[in-house]
């Protein structure tokens, strides 16, 4: 209550610059104290950041130039060899990386595309819903807040050979589509299934962003389009969609980045299998770092992590260029 009265008392008199000028009247005294407080206030954040952020980044960069298994007291400096091994030189790792890169590329194209194709219409329709819009939005959001191992296990359960998805197909007369090995057990269906689940997880945020965008569109624009004889489809495809191009770019970027770097779902649901069909670059990085027992692959893991970082950076830059040129 005190604060709101203070606000009320202060706001009308202010012209934005008044306070600043007042502060400058006693430069020495004020600034000295303000500077000290400034450093005190950021000290905990900075300290944590130096240890957990800056230090680990340098450590990781350094690791990417060495050969080490994490246990021996010394490591062997190998320069750029790790990068070369991953990209082309090593007969062991390069082919695995190439296959994982292809899988990752597939995910990077399919997930953002499908997420946009599902969430845009969904947001348009939800935006026009008169009743239950709030309830529906909450329901649609549940996959996002619960994202994690619990939900992935529930998916595993329904995708089992004896699971609910096969049962559903049988019930609606599409028994021929059933997967007797389970949807994750069949090498041909494992990846598409995971893509569908990733889209399912990605739709909530995308839908929310589209909804925010839709609510910011000037309604008179849409009325004008309809007066010109544009129907519902025309209005949404020719007027609304271009207006939300920026939102689409953000959604694409988020999903591409997630597809490049995220691998939790792969680790939990298939661990790259069956037969390497769902191995992606993020998972390969994790595998090299934590699932190789005593083999000296920590350097390779770090190098692959940095390659992913640069790929994500490149995508972000391209994305920004493309969206900037469009309008």
């Amino acid at each position: 209550m005190t604060t709101s009265t203070a606000l009320a008392a202060v706001v009308p008199t202010g012209d934005g610059g008044g306070g600043r000028r007042g502060r400058r009247r006693h430069p020495v005294h004020h600034r000295g104290q303000e500077v000290a407080w400034g450093y005190v206030f950021i000290a905990p954040a900075l300290l944590l950041f130096l240890v957990m952020g800056v230090y680990t980044l340098f450590f990781s960069a350094q690791l990417s130039f060495v050969r080490w298994n994490g246990l021996t007291p010394t490591w062997e400096w190998v320069g750029l060899k790790n990068y070369a091994d991953l990209l082309w030189a090593s007969p062991v790792y390069a082919p695995v990386v190439h296959r994982a890169a292809l899988n990752t590329l597939g995910v990077m194209v399919a997930v953002p595309l499908l997420t946009v194709l599902v969430s845009f219409p969904l947001a348009v329709v939800l935006n026009q819903a008169r009743r239950f819009a709030g309830v529906l939005r909450s329901v649609y959001f549940v996959p996002y807040v619960t994202a994690g191992i619990a939900v992935y296990m529930a998916w595993q359960y329904v995708l089992e050979p004896n699971g609910a998805v096969n049962l559903l197909l049988r019930t609606v007369g599409l028994g021929s589509l059933e997967q007797p090995q389970g949807w994750l057990g069949n090498p041909a269906t494992a990846m598409p299934t995971l893509v569908v689940i990733m889209v399912w997880s990605g739709v909530p945020v995308a839908m929310l962003l589209y909804l925010t965008g839709l609510q910011s569109i000037d309604p008179s624009l849409l009325e004008a389009a309809q007066l010109d004889g544009a129907g519902w489809w025309r209005t949404n495809l020719a007027v609304v969609r271009p207006l939300l191009a920026g939102t689409t770019a953000v959604i694409t970027l988020l999903n591409v980045r997630e597809a490049l770097q995220g691998f939790q779902i792969f680790l939990i649901m298939t661990n790259g299998g069956p037969a390497g069909r769902t191995n992606v670059l993020g998972l390969e990085t994790y595998d090299l770092a934590f699932q190789q027992e005593l083999a000296p692959t920590l350097g390779l893991a770090s190098a692959l992590g940095w390659l992913l970082f640069f790929a994500a950076l490149a995508v972000a830059i391209v994305n920004q260029r493309v969206t900037r040129e469009k309008p």
Partner: protein, 298 residues
């Protein structure tokens, strides 16, 4: 003008204002039904795995093996009770609560202070430090996972809850600082000046004036921290070894890998993991939804 719109375009917004007694054209009825079916259909898709999760959690081992029906014929609470008590999910729940609670508290305390400095105070290097924090936004988690584990091993905190909390707190730095700094910046400078004239010190201005006014942003940051932390799996999996330290996601993973998968137990465990987040989300979704949209766009 409105009447013209009304007649030529039946589903224009103006139609809402027309009196009920006028009959709705068949085309509109069809369109509305299609919309309703689509919306309800996607609601079912959204909840699909959860329906089966709940179903299995109330089934016996025998019934879950039989499969084939959503509604349990003979619903039982014993699966949930066993998982909660005998499989120690209560202990894991407390561990998760501790890690999530302390991480959230740490984030709110550390980054509200830092953001106050970035938004309000002026000191050399302010801009540079601010940008330094934001750079972290672009670094993939997989790059830092390995060095964090190696570093914590040296420090002797690997496998402890502190060893989870510190990197979790730091991981939220860019987003938290961005949201809180924006929120503090939107408050008028005169607030602080008036308080100073009244003789309030910096700490008092921060805790008594700025923090209460930034409450919505603080809640958003707390939620955007708490929910992913509750679900966190990767760092926990590679660092926690002692069952006494397990959080819920790790307990679930152990349950799956330790014996032949008993889906009723597994789904009961999964239900224990998701229920608190869903309740938290439903109770606070206003902050959550606004904050998330702001965070992603900003």
């Amino acid at each position: 003008m409105t009447t013209v719109t009304d007649r030529t375009v039946p589903d224009a917004p103006a139609v809402q204002r027309t009196p009920r007694r006028r009959r709705t054209p068949a085309k509109v009825v069809v369109a509305r039904s299609v919309v309703a079916v689509l919306l309800a259909g996607y609601a079912v898709v959204s909840l699909y795995p959860f329906l089966w999760m709940v179903s299995a959690a109330f089934k016996t081992q025998q019934e879950v093996i039989q499969g084939g029906h959503l509604i349990p014929h003979d619903p039982t609470l014993s699966t949930l009770v066993d998982t909660w008590a005998q499989l120690h999910f209560f202990d894991y729940f407390l561990n998760s609560l501790k890690v999530t609670g302390l991480t959230t508290l740490g984030v709110v305390v550390v980054y509200s202070a830092a953001s106050y400095a970035f938004a309000v105070l002026r000191f050399p290097g302010r801009q540079a430090f601010f940008r330094l924090f934001l750079v972290l936004l672009f670094v993939p988690g997989v790059v830092t996972l390995l060095p964090i584990v190696l570093l914590e091993n040296q420090m002797g905190i690997l496998g402890t809850h502190l060893g989870l909390i510190l990197p979790f707190v730091n991981g939220t730095a860019p987003l938290s600082i961005l949201l809180l700094t924006n929120s503090f910046r939107s408050l008028p400078d005169e607030l602080r000046d008036a308080a100073r004239v009244d003789g309030a010190g910096e700490l008092r201005i921060f805790t008594r004036i700025y923090l209460p006014l930034a409450r919505p942003a603080l809640i958003t940051v707390a939620l955007l921290t708490a929910i992913p932390t509750w679900n966190e799996y990767l760092l926990s999996r590679v660092s926690l070894n002692d069952p006494a330290t397990f959080t819920l996601p790790i307990a679930l993973q152990q349950l799956q890998s330790s014996n032949v998968v008993q889906y009723n137990q597994l789904m009961a465990g999964a239900l224990i993991v998701v229920i608190p987040v869903i309740i938290l989300f439903l109770a606070t979704q206003r902050y959550f939804v606004n904050g998330l949209a702001g965070a992603v766009k900003g």
